[in-house]
Symmetry: C2
Subunit: 248 residues, 2 copies
């Protein structure tokens, strides 16, 4: 039970926020509990959200409405990147038949904007719209290594969560890994986010060389030769950078 905000708008939006990644349907009682709003208040606000199409009523609960999906697809920061990136991501997929990602940094996480995958790819946890802590993903290391120092500081201050036995949880070791990332120009993830899964990632720059996204390939440890794949990933990211620059 969170301390509820006092403005009506923030309260109403907290009801949308209450839907976590794992939730599909939530009952009024649960929404009330999660947001800390009194039941009658939650009831009134939820009714308004349903009327607007932001939530949908189901038997015995509420779920996020289609309007949110549609609106979300219009978010400029992802839309431009996704549209420009898709052809390049598909090229990488064709060449490897493994999971190809487009990611951005949404501190302190790596946020997955797009995932090109198929039956032959290693099944992994990543999901479009999903997140993983930056310090244990190949993309995240690219952001931390090439971005401003404050990125790394904030991530370290927030604590380096251990997801697998190989996750780097010591700030010193992470810093070393980032130094090598900077030298090489690409980031690696050796079973640090998921056992048996490795990844390579390369940075996408905007027209003033700031890192705005990353392209990565992830798959089973023994199926991917990371050093051999790295140039291809870097090339794809570079082409995308050029295209983003051209688009402004």
């Amino acid at each position: 039970m969170e301390p509820p905000p006092k403005s009506v708008l923030a309260r109403g939006l907290s009801l949308l926020d209450a839907f976590g990644t794992a939730d599909t349907d939530l009952t009024l009682a649960r929404l009330s509990a999660r947001t800390g709003l009194p039941k009658p208040t939650a009831h009134r606000l939820v009714a308004e959200l349903v009327a607007g199409g932001w939530l949908e009523r189901t038997e015995g609960g509420y779920r996020l409405g289609m309007k949110l999906f549609v609106l979300g697809q219009g978010v400029p920061r992802q839309r431009g990147l996704r549209e420009a990136a898709l052809p390049y991501l598909e090229d990488l997929y064709e060449a490897t038949h493994e999971n190809v990602h487009l990611t951005v940094f949404d501190p302190p996480d790596t946020l997955f904007l797009e995932k090109v995958t198929g039956r032959r790819s290693t099944p992994i946890v990543s999901r479009v719209g999903g997140r993983l802590p930056a310090h244990c993903t190949a993309s995240g290391k690219v952001f931390l290594a090439l971005g401003p120092p404050s990125y790394l500081r904030d991530v370290v201050d927030g604590g380096l969560a251990r997801l697998t036995p190989r996750t780097i949880t010591m700030p010193g070791l992470l810093r070393q890994d980032l130094d090598r990332t900077l030298e090489r120009g690409y980031g690696l993830n050796r079973e640090e986010s998921e056992p048996g899964v490795v990844a390579v990632a390369a940075p996408v720059h905007d027209h003033h060389r700031r890192v705005i996204a990353a392209v990565s390939i992830a798959g089973r440890a023994h199926r991917l030769d990371l050093a051999r794949l790295a140039p291809a990933v870097k090339t794809a990211a570079l082409s995308l950078s050029r295209e983003m620059a051209a688009r402004g």
Copy 2:
């Protein structure tokens, strides 16, 4: 300038709704004009939306925030369908290298949930999260032909907009086309939404045979042999139906 809602929550949300498909950045003044909210009110509400991450400030404007994209990806009605459908859509893409769609009916429109495409595909207007009037899409005809009669009635009552010279705008002709759609078990679009572009669509059912989505292929008129493709599209839709039924 719309008549502004009087509840705070609805007013705040109308600010998000004000971002149309074509807009990326909107100024405060424009937001105020579109929603009909007085400038100071819009200013206050927008500030709250920014604080919550729903909007982002840019130099000289506001844009939709990443939170909306992330939340939108969690919308259950699209998430389950998309995840289950992707492998089948990719199979169709591999076989044809043309635009493969997953759609739902969002009256009075066909709403595109997923689009698998590539460099070799005919470039067409469809976009994930985008819409086209149901009466001029192959998927839409599937929804109108197999769904409850009220679907068709409401669409006809709303008026059959003409998008191309071949768009069916007469209710009687549309009804005939839907009868044939019902017989065949698949819907066709012969340059009715976009000149030179044709499509085939087949229905996806839930565990109680209600139509919940459609799978379609669209491309240049002379490149696609619709009658020959139809069985493949139907098969993919059927497999997806079975999978959706299995998932509950």
